[in-house]
């Protein structure tokens, strides 16, 4: 069981100590965590690993001494790249409430871009929206940014994510979307196994390690 032994004090979190991240190879993933989006979320995580990047997430650390938003800001500011999906920014449930964590985190990533004038360190982000999504009606400031559209399936999201990440200057990918999609079920199966092992949510470090193991055999 990765990252599980030695008691609470022995646990190492992403971005700290032995899990210090190279920002140029780090990609923050700002996607919904709900059950319906899970296959797409797994596809984005696995695609990032297959392109040689370390996926980062709001889930990566459980440091309760720091607020969630501070942890997110820390993760975004120590990642050169980020991927944002605005699928859940629409009315849902009986009260028709929308979730705005994703535009908030996109805003943080956009601000991160202006924290340096060095081109090689500038933050770069990918915006994903489902076909027909009327994102411009609630975040009109994004006009002109031309997000990549997909149909909600892993078959459509993987080529978009892989083509974007593979053409970043820091990519080390040699994989086609087909290779990533062919290996994705193995990653999903391993995640299910880990979930049973952990009786619930799988620690981020363990999830990334599982993706690395499978990606290394491609």
């Amino acid at each position: 069981m990765a990252n599980g032994g030695g008691g609470i004090g022995a646990r190492v979190h992403f971005g700290e100590g032995k899990l210090a991240i190279d920002p140029a190879k780090a990609v923050f993933i700002n996607c919904p965590f709900d059950k319906d989006f899970e296959p797409a979320f797994e596809a984005v995580v696995f695609s990032a690993v297959c392109c040689g990047f370390t996926p980062r997430s709001a889930l990566e650390t459980g440091n309760v001494a720091e607020s969630r938003v501070e942890r997110i800001v820390r993760a975004i500011f120590s990642s050169k790249y980020s991927i944002h999906d605005l699928s859940r920014c629409k009315g849902e449930g009986s009260e028709q409430l929308a979730r705005f964590n994703m535009p908030l985190e996109l805003g943080i990533a956009m601000a991160r871009r202006f924290t340096t004038t060095k081109k090689s360190l500038k933050h770069d982000w990918l915006l994903l929206v489902p076909e027909g999504h009327q994102y411009l009606k609630f975040v009109s400031d994004l006009a002109g940014f031309d997000p990549l559209r997909y149909d909600g399936t892993t078959n459509s999201i993987v080529p978009k994510v892989v083509s974007w990440l593979a053409t970043r200057p820091d990519a080390v990918s040699t994989h086609t979307p087909k290779a990533v999609l062919d290996a994705l079920p193995e990653f999903q199966k391993e995640k299910l196994r880990l979930r049973k092992e952990w009786h619930g949510d799988v620690p981020w470090a363990d999830l990334v390690m599982a993706a690395m193991e499978i990606a290394s055999s491609l």
Partner: protein
């Protein structure tokens, strides 16, 4: 269209000279400065031009690619994945490395990647000749023509090291 020419803003003069050289051999070349008009939809025009091109010439310098060049790389990579007949021709200058995505765009084929190197930017004649030979499917030994396998090995090694690093981090938590 024979060739779509992708380049960074920093390489625009070199791209224009290459384009003129290819024109002189009767090849039809898409070059942004000649084809794009002010106010046009950059992404759509690039997508359409890449769809029509048989070969995508990637002029790559040692500097990090600018945003427009990264856009053409992404669109070109997706086009190559969809159309196995479409080919990348990387043209490297100033000691530039072959980007990893070129390998990805070629991984389903047995053929080596035809990497062209510009050794002396003042004289592009051999480079143009080599590109013309590749486009016409008649590569010869006379110009700077290198099998892509060496480049692939380098990138594979970098990737393996990266995977090992992250695995070590994860294993250290056990």
């Amino acid at each position: 269209m024979d060739v779509f020419l992708s380049h960074s803003a920093a390489d625009k003069k070199l791209a224009e000279r290459l384009s003129r050289g290819l024109d002189a051999h009767g090849l039809s070349v898409w070059l942004d400065r000649r084809e794009l008009t002010p106010g046009s939809d950059l992404r759509r025009e690039i997508e359409e031009a890449i769809q029509k091109a048989d070969h995508i010439l990637l002029l790559i310098g040692h500097r990090e690619p600018d945003e427009a060049q990264q856009l053409t790389w992404r669109v070109a990579l997706e086009a190559v994945w969809q159309d196995p007949e479409k080919r990348f021709i990387p043209v490297l200058h100033h000691g530039a490395d072959l980007p990893a995505f070129v390998v990805s765009g070629n991984s389903s084929r047995e053929a080596a990647i035809p990497v062209v190197r510009i050794e002396d930017g003042r004289n592009l004649r051999d480079v143009v000749d080599t590109i013309v030979e590749i486009v016409k499917g008649e590569p010869t030994q006379k110009a700077v023509f290198k099998r892509g396998e060496d480049e692939v090995r380098v990138k594979e090694a970098e990737r393996s090291h990266r995977l090992l690093d992250i695995r070590r981090y994860a294993l250290s938590l056990k």
